[in-house]
Amino acid sequence: MHTNSYLRFSRKVILHHLSIYEGKDAARNAKAVKRKPAKGETKKVGGEKNGSERIVPAQKKPRYYPTETRPKKLVSRKRSFNGHAHKLRPSITPGTVLIVLAGKHKGKRVVYLKQLRSGLLLVTGPFTVNGCPLRRVNQIYVIATKTKLNIDNIKLPERLNDDYFKKKKTRKAPKNEGDLFESTKEAKTVSPELKEDQVNVDKQVLEAISKHPDHKLFTGYLKSIFWLKKSQFPHNMIF
């Protein structure tokens, strides 16, 4: 290398790159030493000057060192979606009645149960009241009302998580020429687990409703659909 030219990396960095594998191995060995004694077989060795025995390692060290340094993975501060922290509006607490604004159930008033790991809200109609099943909703498509149910005593099944609600992908059978025009769509079915959980959760939510001071009107309220009348502006209204 010419003495006048600039080095792309400092000498220290280059040395570090060159010795990276050595260093890694050294670190690994150090750890291994800490954890357990070296794995291997002890074999007796003949000869006076060879010591009486030697250890044959169970795993051989690589015969070659790589000729090229492999790119090192940089440490990134970015987190995948899974690691994101999901905030929840303070107005939404378990038992809050929410008005759903988007999707199949828009306009319905539903009961909020809990926030799932993906940040989505787990809600239920209850299904027997307004037809909204156990379901995930994004909090941006929801108006939180001041009306709250006391659902502290409700026990939700532990299997109600994000995977539970994910669409199950089914492999498509390869198409034959014969059934090219035949509809191969399968009818949507509700899993027996969901049916079971729906009954279980609804029962508890309805019990909580019966304990609300306005329990006589509460189911009617959940049944009713939200809409804006004349001269009602949502940004000016209290919910």
Partner: protein, 155 residues
Amino acid sequence: MVKLDTYKLYDRVVEVGRVVFIAYGPDRGKLAVIVDIIDQNRALIDGPASGVVRKEIGYKAINLTRFKLPIQKGICTKALKKVWAREKMEEKWAGTAWAKKLDSRQKREAMSDFDRFKVLKAKQARTRLINEEFNKLKASADSSKTSKKSKKAKK
């Protein structure tokens, strides 16, 4: 020349002692009294009982109420407070349709979603009762009419 009697044309005029409702500005929604008239555009007001500090205000910012306090021009705040209490202005104001309307509007604005639903249901129940009674009366009226007609037919 005919002299116009303003008191006959209007029952509320800008004058010393006139109780006013402040329509906008920082003291919006409060009651005060005109203490002095500065010029054609501004008056000096004071509202010791409602938390309005003595200040000048444009006529556009105030609405005149039908109440007038018997005070002298430029009366001091302390004395005004006494007159206000003696005349029971708070009670009088609360009794007006104006104040009631404001009150009900405030209540309506403070209602939650569930409250609105409850009001809806209460109104439906009221209408149902009224309709039931109305239909009963109507039915009895109709039956009496028909009976008269049938009598006539018999004759």
